[in-house]
């Protein structure tokens, strides 16, 4: 899959992989303070009687990368799926509290989850392109949302923004399933951003990928934050440190134990539990 590495705008080298915490965190000062786009107020989530999230309150900034980290079962993915109400698909799930997208509580009775998900795109843990051509995968969101425009151009634009165009421009009408895992995941990102959502949710998008593909996805995420708000769940501490502006640390029991600028969370964590977790003493 890497025959085109030399064509890509950012060739992979050690410096990218080792981007340090300070670099990532300076973006806030460089780009000025950000408005809040998603605000959670006392969010509890239950699966039947089991509490998955316990009183989560946090403000997620616009056009930044916010990372959710924590051990398995800490509720970070559950929180991510609250934002676009994907938890609605699980009968047993129950959400309490308020989750505001630009002041509108997405759990209000009058909110249409279909309309919500058109503003909040999602990329999943395992690459899941449709068994359709690359072109049709990217055009899918445009079609179902009835977006007008030059689809050829919109598809190309999305594939370029997902750093995949150069690798697939001559095989747009071949199946998306013929791509490598890393390419499939970038195709899924292209598909998610094609209808131009405000927020892109990513649920461990690189966990099924090898280090080179992971590094490409990480570069891409950093670029995406120029235009979109990216909220990413990861179990990889280094990844969170490399790519995010803000980091939220969840610990077992569905508690949010720390939320702040990534630099601060990693260099000067507020509690021993968080420090133990991020330095790898457990989890």
């Amino acid at each position: 899959m890497d025959q085109s590495t030399d064509e890509s705008p950012d060739p992979i080298d050690e410096s990218v992989i080792e981007t340090n915490v300070a670099d990532a965190a300076t973006s806030d000062t460089a780009r000025g303070p950000a408005d809040t786009i998603v605000e959670a107020r006392n969010v509890d989530v239950f699966y039947d009687d089991v509490q998955a999230l316990d009183d989560i309150s946090m403000s997620i900034p616009e056009q930044r990368v916010t990372a959710m980290v924590g051990p398995s079962g800490c509720g970070k993915s559950t929180f991510l799926r609250c934002i676009n109400r994907m938890n609605d698909r699980i009968d047993a799930a129950r959400v309490e509290g308020e989750l505001r997208l630009r002041e509108k509580n997405v759990y209000d009775d009058d909110v249409d989850p279909v309309a919500l998900r058109r503003r909040v795109g999602m990329v999943f843990q395992t690459p899941n392109p449709f068994p359709k051509s690359i072109y049709d995968n990217v055009a899918y969101g445009l079609e179902i949302q009835g977006i007008d425009g030059d689809y050829d151009q919109l598809v190309e634009e999305s594939l370029r923004r997902a750093a995949l165009w150069d690798e697939v421009s001559d095989q747009l009408h071949e199946s998306g399933l013929d791509l490598s895992g890393g390419q499939q995941q970038r195709l899924c990102i292209a598909r998610a951003i094609a209808p131009d959502p405000e927020i892109v949710l990513m649920d461990e998008p690189a966990s099924a990928l090898d280090p080179v593909a992971t590094s490409k996805i990480e570069d891409l995420i950093t670029d995406l934050a120029e235009e979109y708000t990216v909220i990413i769940v990861t179990h990889n501490m280094q990844q969170a440190a490399r790519i995010s502006d803000k980091t939220a640390v969840f610990l077992t029991g569905g508690e949010l134990v720390e939320f702040g600028d990534t630099e601060q969370v990693f260099q000067n964590p507020g509690s021993d539990r968080v420090e133990d977790y991020i330095t790898g003493k457990f989890g």
Partner: protein, 319 residues
Amino acid sequence: MSTDDIEADLTRNTENAPSELLARLFFFVCAVLSVVTTASIIVLLVSEAAKFFSVTAPLVGFAGETVSVVEFLTGTTWQVNSGEFGVLALVSATLLITVGAAIVSVPLGVATAIYLSEYASRRARRILKPALEILAGIPTVVYGFFALLYITPVIQLVFPDTGTFNLASASIVVGIMIIPMVASISEDAMSAVPEELRQAGYGMGATKFDVSTGVVVPAALSGIFSSFILALSRAIGETMAVTVAAGSQAAFLQPWNPASYLEGALPMTAAMIQLLLSDITGGGLGYRSLFAVGLTLFALTLSMNIVSDLIAQRYREEY
């Protein structure tokens, strides 16, 4: 453990112990039995049919009355008593019923499958799936009565000229009969579509309809096609319902003319029943035509099954 013990322990040869060999033999015999049964039926069908055609009769050492293959395959009059064996009269009726049954069962079966797989709550599915299976368990002769006593009068309300025995009624009832087959095989195919694909669709802001028709159905296409072919093979071979509902007068009906559906005709299976029940003399031409029609029917369903496999392979999605 001493060296001798290990030697004895490791060389027990359990794989070829008498009980293992006996079990292997038993399973082998069962497998062979079913293959042999099927094969001998085909052999019987072919060898008896061979006595019917003038080309092949000498090959099997048969000297009686025969019919030319061309006459059999292209003739449009089926009159056993006057020695006219044009199988197209029977094939046309069978094809009309099959097409009619497809028109009824394909949309309804697929829609049912979509409902069961994508829309139904767990509770609705628990009630509906067994109900469908009951539909599949109704004796086919009952379907025949149902066509004759309930469907035909309704058709006659709309088209007063329709005869008591007509292909429309037979088509509808065969269509209803195979809905459960289309629905259940299609539903299996749709349920096998990975949840990740649905999530991808919903995550894009797709509605349930978008996901069902734009993601799940295309991904399950090979299974859905297989369900069509299998169900239609069943429709072609269906006997009791069409014998009761379609009539007993062989007639060549133009398959491309919708008005044909309002007339009665004799499908292949019903013609075979008629031959068996009539006073055809054993060994006579009429008797031997039974095998020729049977072989034609077998060729038709076999080729549909082959087509089904090819289609399933062509559209198989690897997800």
